[in-house]
């Protein structure tokens, strides 16, 4: 989940300033979002994708201020 580009990101601002103060002037900007790692069982990739997409829309992502994207990766079992 990342904040939409037009939305103010105070966290990102603070991190950028912090990095500058620590001697990293090359940093032009930072935006802080959420990283959610989800383990789920699904028949196949496609159904997993549509379920996760739905979860993002309904619960995980606050569509008013956030955008989301996700990646699937298969684990064993």
């Amino acid at each position: 989940m990342t904040l939409k580009p037009v939305v103010n990101d105070p966290q990102g601002l603070a991190v950028t300033q912090g990095l500058h103060a620590l001697g990293y002037p090359e940093v032009r900007g930072t935006r802080v979002g959420k990283h959610i790692q989800l383990t789920l069982v699904a028949q196949d990739r496609q159904s997993a994708e549509s379920r996760v997409e739905e979860m993002c829309r309904r619960l995980l992502c606050n569509g008013v201020i956030e955008d989301f994207h996700f990646q699937l990766s298969e684990t064993g079992a």
């Binding site: 939305v7 103010n8 603070a14 300033q17 619960l59 008013v64 201020i65």
Partner: protein, 743 residues
């Protein structure tokens, strides 16, 4: 300058919340057609939110006349004198629309905004309070909204280090579509440091400090001046993310400068951003301001003058500084690692001039921009249903519950229950001055180096204001006065927030007129000046308006903070007195709400004269230490108030009422009626005489009801419940439905 444009389409005007008539009015006054930017600026400043075009005429009924008043309505916040050169500055404001769209950030930026209003006067904020309205908690969406609003209020106050010492929360299905979020802030300032939002001295520089200007919140003011409809989603970029950390630094820097003669005027950048802050400061000073937009620090590339002038990015302040002393002022902001830029200067013509890339892109006379709107006078009429509803039986269908059952259900109603689920999420102690914490009638914040302290409460109209908005507003004022009296405090002044629906609807306009009249009347009779306030209209969703909801915040003075009564009963054997008259009042009551009967019957009785005298008597008894505890009867009536005294004190009680129930009523009105002007006091066994004496001297009825003690809350011959059951019910009312995390 960009040429005037062709007449805007109705659609464009609607976007700007301007009527066609208003547009033509503007053209007539300007003597020309405004360009796009100018039209946007006019639209924002002429919006209801900024201009009060509908309510201004009504608000003139509210009087701010009193010896203690230093600054009345019209500035960022009202100011009263506390003596010895100390001033108290306070105001309440709504953030309903943003909170409906994004509850956490909407509520948070509401708190951020009201804090800026107070420190713009040079005052250090010492307390925040919040008044909230939601739909019923059995609805998951409402639980979510409630949880998120509380999170947002807490987030901002907790981060910035101002205690949230109290509030008021009410749940009713009528707020399902529109939650209300009102935030109040109280600050302290010594007289020489008091600042004003005024521009003075031609040639003086104008500074913009704090956050960079972004594209967020453009047209927030307009947005708060139209109904939320299904299309509200598309206006969502109007929602902003606040930065309480930045505001904390901004606050400290501004307060540091408040004592400096270099700072001539300070104003926060609220609704309508730079446009309104500059226009209003210049208007107050009888001067003009020229802004050079190229000097405004931006968060994003490619912003147009329109976006810069109308951005409502949070955490920004506008300063007018004495010529030649800019560096001195900027040094303070530098130390707090805050951006500060000279963005304009004070000019002689009473105009707001905007320069971008060396060209004048807007030039508006301030009398037109600030005060030129045609007043709006929508029609009003009392809806016919009111007559019928007022005459109806308040409990149609009767009460199927036993009195005990009804009593326990009332205690477990989220409107009467323990509110610690809310305030334990708020830092209510930072500052080391909160000597009465949230959870009782009013909070008390002591004044350092003095014996006295501020008692603060917010209270709002409940369901009965739907039956009688005039009475509803009066009841809210009366409740606030009682809450202060319970702590021994005398009201100093009042701030108010009028939350109503769409004033184009005749019924809503009638409600607004009635409520303001009631407010004015109650304040006059109880001798409380009104020093500040805010109006929030268009709280509608899909054609349904919220019930009329005036909210009042009252600040009072407690003589000696070391002599405050306990919350709840204090000792077994103490005598319990009822001060005030037992009057009926089930119309619009909490019992009626629980029964789902609709809002029917005559609203609770109120005698403002008696109310005033009763508060004097209680205040005297509490401040001379005669009363060991005091609590007023409000939602749920006498029975709920008694149980609250028991549960909070951890002690039972046995009382007997003087009046007998009528056969048809079975005691419901006696127990749960919400007639105004009543208090429960407890006194030491030998102290009854003093209560009777003081009440007699104020010509206030009082009756000895019984004694503290035992493990039951017992009203002889009517009903009794175990103390433990009462405690459990009260504990669960909000905490029960809200158990577990809310995402």
């Amino acid at each position: 300058m960009t040429a005037g444009m062709a007449a805007p389409s109705p659609g464009q005007l609607r976007e700007l919340a301007l009527t066609e008539e208003e547009y033509h009015h503007a053209v007539r006054q300007l003597g020309r057609v405004p360009n796009q930017l100018e039209l946007g600026m006019l639209g924002a400043l002429w919006s209801e939110h900024c201009s009060y075009k509908t309510s201004r005429r009504l608000l003139s009924q509210l009087s701010s006349q009193a010896p203690q008043v230093v600054v009345g309505p019209g500035e960022n916040a009202g100011v009263v004198d506390l003596g010895d050169g100390l001033l108290c500055c306070f105001k309440i404001e709504s953030h309903n629309h943003p909170s409906a769209i994004e509850p956490v950030q909407g509520a948070a930026t509401g708190v951020g905004g009201i804090l800026r209003d107070v420190f713009a006067m040079g005052a250090r904020p010492v307390a925040i309070l919040d008044a909230l309205r939601f739909g019923e908690l059995d609805d998951a969406a409402q639980r979510h909204r409630f949880a998120k609003v509380v999170e947002g209020v807490g987030h901002y106050g907790n981060c910035i280090g101002v205690p949230t010492v109290g509030g008021e929360t009410y749940f009713d299905a009528a707020y399902q579509g529109n939650c209300l979020v009102n935030a109040m802030c109280v600050g302290l300032v010594t007289a020489p440091r008091l600042l004003h939002a005024v521009a003075r001295g031609v040639g003086n520089p104008v500074l913009l400090v704090g956050a960079d200007t972004g594209r967020d919140g453009i047209h927030g003011a307009t947005f708060a001046s139209v109904q939320l409809d299904e299309g509200a989603e598309e206006r969502r970029p109007a929602v902003q993310v606040g930065n309480p950390f930045l505001e904390k630094c901004l606050m400290e820097a501004c307060l540091e400068l408040a004592g400096s003669s270099a700072l001539l005027g300070l104003q926060d950048c609220g609704a309508a951003g730079l446009t309104s802050s500059c226009a209003e400061m210049a208007r107050r000073g009888g001067v003009g301001i020229r802004l050079d937009l190229d000097k405004v620090a931006r968060r994003e590339l490619g912003m147009t003058p329109y976006e810069v002038m109308l951005s409502e990015s949070q955490e920004r302040m506008v300063l007018v500084v004495e010529r030649g002393r800019v560096e001195e002022v900027r040094a303070v902001f530098d130390r707090w690692e805050l951006r500060s830029d000279v963005v304009g200067e004070v000019i002689a013509p009473e105009e707001l001039q905007v320069i971008a890339e060396g060209e004048m892109v807007a030039r508006l006379p301030l009398p037109v921009l600030v005060d030129g709107f045609p007043p709006r006078r929508p029609g009003s009429s009392r809806p016919p249903r009111v007559e019928r509803d007022l005459g109806a039986d308040p409990l149609t269908g009767g009460l199927s519950w036993t009195l005990e059952e009804a009593w326990l259900r009332l205690l477990a109603s989220p409107n009467c229950a323990d509110t610690s689920w809310i305030y334990r999420q708020y830092d209510h102690q930072v500052g080391d001055d909160t000597v009465v914490l949230p959870g009782w009638d009013a909070a008390v914040v002591r004044l350092r180096g003095r014996q006295d302290g501020l008692a603060i409460t917010v209270d709002g109209a409940h369901r009965s204001s739907l039956l009688d908005p005039r009475r509803g507003a009066q009841l809210a004022v009366a409740e606030a006065v009682r809450n202060l009296a319970c702590l021994g405090a005398r009201p100093l002044a009042l701030t108010n927030c009028l939350n109503f629906g769409d004033p184009e609807r005749e019924e809503v306009m009638w409600q607004l007129e009635e409520a303001v009249a009631g407010l004015a009347d109650a304040c006059r009779q109880l001798a409380i000046p009104v020093v500040s306030g805010n109006v929030s209209l268009y709280n509608d969703l899909s054609g349904a308006s919220i019930p009329p909801t005036p909210v009042v915040g009252v600040v009072g003075l407690v003589g000696d903070v070391r002599r405050l009564p306990g919350p709840g009963f204090v000792a077994s054997g103490d005598l319990i007195y009822l001060v005030g008259e037992e009057t009926a009042g089930l119309g619009g009551s909490e019992l009626q709400r629980l029964l789902g009967c609709g809002v029917l019957g005559p609203p609770p009785g109120l005698d403002l004269e008696l109310e005033g005298r009763a508060s004097e008597a209680v205040r005297q008894l509490v401040s001379e230490g005669a009363a060991r505890s005091a609590h007023d009867c409000s939602l749920g009536g006498l029975a709920v108030a008694l149980a609250e005294c028991c549960v909070v004190g951890g002690l039972g009680a046995v009382v007997r009422l003087r009046d007998r129930p009528t056969p048809s009523d079975g005691g419901r009105d006696l127990l749960f009626g919400e007639g105004s002007g009543r208090y429960l006091l407890s006194v030491e066994p030998g102290g009854g005489g003093r209560v009777e004496e003081v009440c007699a001297s104020w010509r206030v009825p009082c009756a000895r009801l019984g004694e503290v003690g035992g493990d039951r809350v017992e009203i002889r011959d009517l009903a009794g419940i175990p103390l433990a059951a009462a405690a459990a019910a009260r504990r669960e009312g909000i905490a029960g439905p809200m158990a577990g995390p809310v995402l």
